[in-house]
Amino acid sequence: MMNPTTKLLSLAAMLMLPFTAVQSAPDVDTIVERANLAAYYAGDDGRTEVRMVIYDAQGREQRRQFTILRRDVADGGDQEFLVVFSRPSDVRGTTFLVKKHIGRDDDRWLYLPGLDLVKRISAGDKRTSFVGAHYFYEDVSGRSPEEDEHEFVEETDEYYVLRHVPKEPGLVEFRDYTTWIDKETWLPMRIEYRNASGDTYRTIEAGAVETIEGFPTVTESRVQDTSLGGYTLMQFRYIDYDIGIPADIFSERSLRRPPLEWLERSEGGD
């Protein structure tokens, strides 16, 4: 027979059970999946305008302005991106098309209007500077979660902290990286890349988050790279989700003639 005190304790324990289950962190794969969806797959498609300021180690600055159209082929799966530059003047009219694939290399094309040249960019180039910024080509479309092994580091009041180790270290310049994922929005708020000697040399931070059409969205970010010196700031505006961008927009045709209908701001856009 249990005495009343033990009974009470076991009842409390039973009541606690579901409570603690809610409290404990989801497993690593769930966090990675939700963070990936939150960061790159809001809505079925989207458009945003971007302004970028690139500071080099001497503090000199360069600017870029472009519009990004995105379409998800499948949530968490293949995606397509079209980037159309409007500034600076010598980059104006340059366009960039990405077909992101899960399980095989992404396809990337760059269009140079002066030569009317559609230049293909090899997969090996994905961790090189995107138009002179500290961001890489891969940062634009997102690194596929399957390329890394993920491990849980800790849970803080605000973040899930994960460490990611590349499955093929020869293809990247980092040894591993750590992400701080916001527990409410699932957005990665900080990413730190470490080199072979374990020093953090590259940091990407989300500077501002706004909820747009129901989707928490990073509207300012910064990447800093001590191996290069300097940093790049990015600001996103006129963001719109679920606007119904058709699949055939993401084609060589659009590289030469960007689809104005989808690039223009919509009435209700932020």
Binding site: E61, L115, D116, V118, S122, G124, G207, L260
Partner: protein
């Protein structure tokens, strides 16, 4: 020349103004987000020239000013001039987008005006003057003067029979000038099983070929390197040319088929009066480009049918040719990319050519093999670009090296220096004949 100096001083003045206009870092290095309010000035509002609330559209005007100078290094050769590049160039670009009959319509104009110390003249070139519209949803039409490019080669052209400006290319002008504009109607048909593009040029537009004014070349008739004065002017057919491309991408593999009906782009034929002219040409070809081993592989072939010399026995008209190219490119280490190409030209009926040629010793080999290599190294987020492009032909025993260094000081200021180094065993081969044209050049550009 004095005028050029005055303008260059003006350009330098603008350069220093640009340097002093640079502001201090608006966001502190330690905390990028905190500084914004305190300093009362954030990086997003100043210097963009407009507020973000104004949407792009209407008329946009941009361009650049560029100063270029280049000279022969060694022997001047038959061209009695050391300068290969001497110019102050102004570029203007205007773009307008709007609606017409409920469909979007784009108008574009790009033009250069420059003072050229080699021709000692003020030169004008309209590079683009086009209207772009869609008569129906699946068709794009580009009408007017434009630059066109297709095919997979890197500085080797098989199915791209659009005009090229080799004078600009050898003089060290920006790569963009390798492609010369033509007055063309281009129509693209999309959305079917494959995409189809047609380019109809009502009046044949040849390459900008070497005339002897800036660069010397080998003349089989003279049997030596020449630089005719006055420069040569070949007879241009007043007929149309038509180019076609059918392409499709399947799982990342790009397939394309090509056709062309027109003329050889270089004046390699001689008419009945002994004048240089352009022989009729029809070509068909195909290409493929795909990702391979973390790099890119491409292959392309073209069959050049010399319509007026089907048996290859007329020495005044070039023979038919089969051209083939295979290439591979990949990043070797971070920011260092290497590309390799193998290219071969097989001249058909080579025996008939040699039998009938008045100068068989100067005729091309039956197989002309060319190897190319492109090395590109980008430093400090593409601010510096070091590049070396090498052409080497084992069959001709000649070469062409194109080293260059470019520095992007800011979005406005860009500096480029480079060279064009030609050499070879014989005077009559493709690159060997250009040995006396070896030059170094520098360019300074200000974008506005």
């Amino acid at each position: 020349m004095r005028g050029l100096l005055a303008i260059s001083l003006l350009v330098l003045g603008l350069a220093t103004a640009g340097l002093s206009a640079q502001e201090e870092d608006p966001w502190g290095d330690d905390d990028p987000w905190a500084g914004e309010g305190e300093q009362g000035e954030d990086p997003w509002s100043d210097d963009w020239g407009d507020s973000w609330e104004e949407e792009n559209g209407g008329v946009v005007v941009t361009g650049f000013a560029e100063l270029g100078a280049g000279a022969r290094l060694g022997s001047v050769g038959p061209v009695d001039r050391r300068t290969t590049l001497g110019e102050l160039r102004l570029r203007g670009e205007a773009e307008w987008t709007g609606d017409w009959l409920d469909r979007s319509l784009e108008a574009k104009a790009v033009g250069d005006v420059w003072y050229d110390t080699v021709t000692d003249d003020l030169e004008v070139e309209v590079r683009n003057l086009t209207l772009v519209f869609s008569p129906v949803a699946d068709i794009d039409v580009t009408l007017g003067r434009q630059v066109l490019t297709w095919g997979t080669g890197d500085l080797l052209f098989l199915n791209d029979l659009f005009p090229k400006d080799f004078v600009s290319f050898f003089a060290g002008r920006d790569d963009e000038y390798l492609k010369a504009p033509s007055d063309t109607l281009r129509a693209g048909f999309y959305g079917g099983a494959a995409n189809v593009e047609v380019a109809w040029t009502p009046r044949f537009q040849p390459d900008e070929y070497l005339t002897g004014e800036r660069f010397s070349f080998f003349s089989p008739r003279a049997g030596t390197i020449v630089a005719p004065d006055p420069p040569i002017g070949a007879l241009e057919p007043r007929r149309y040319e038509l180019a076609l491309r059918v392409y499709r991408t399947v799982r990342g593999v790009e397939y394309a088929g090509y056709g062309y009906h027109g003329y050889f782009k270089q004046p390699t034929a001689v008419d009945a009066d002994g004048r240089l002219t352009f022989a009729p040409l029809t070509s068909v070809g195909a290409s493929v480009r795909l990702p391979l081993w973390s790099g890119l592989f491409n292959a392309e072939f073209a069959w050049y049918e010399s319509r007026d010399d089907a048996n290859g026995d007329d020495p005044s008209i070039p023979n038919s040719q089969l051209r083939f190219l295979a290439g591979f490119e990949r990043e070797l280490v971070a920011n260092f990319t290497a590309g390799f190409q193998y290219y071969v030209e097989h001249t058909r009926d080579h025996d008939a050519l040699l039998e009938n040629s008045p100068t068989p010793e100067f005729e091309p080999e039956e197989y002309r093999h060319v190897l190319t290599n492109r090395l590109t190294y980008r430093i400090s987020q593409d601010r510096w670009t070091l590049s070396l492009f090498t052409f080497y032909s084992p069959s001709d025993a000649d070469f062409y090296l194109r080293p260059s260094v470019s520095f992007r000081q800011s979005d406005e200021w860009q500096f480029t220096a480079g060279g064009n180094w030609f050499g070879g065993r014989d005077d009559y081969t493709f690159f060997g004949q250009l040995e006396d044209n070896t030059n170094l050049y520098v360019r300074v550009r200000y974008n506005y």
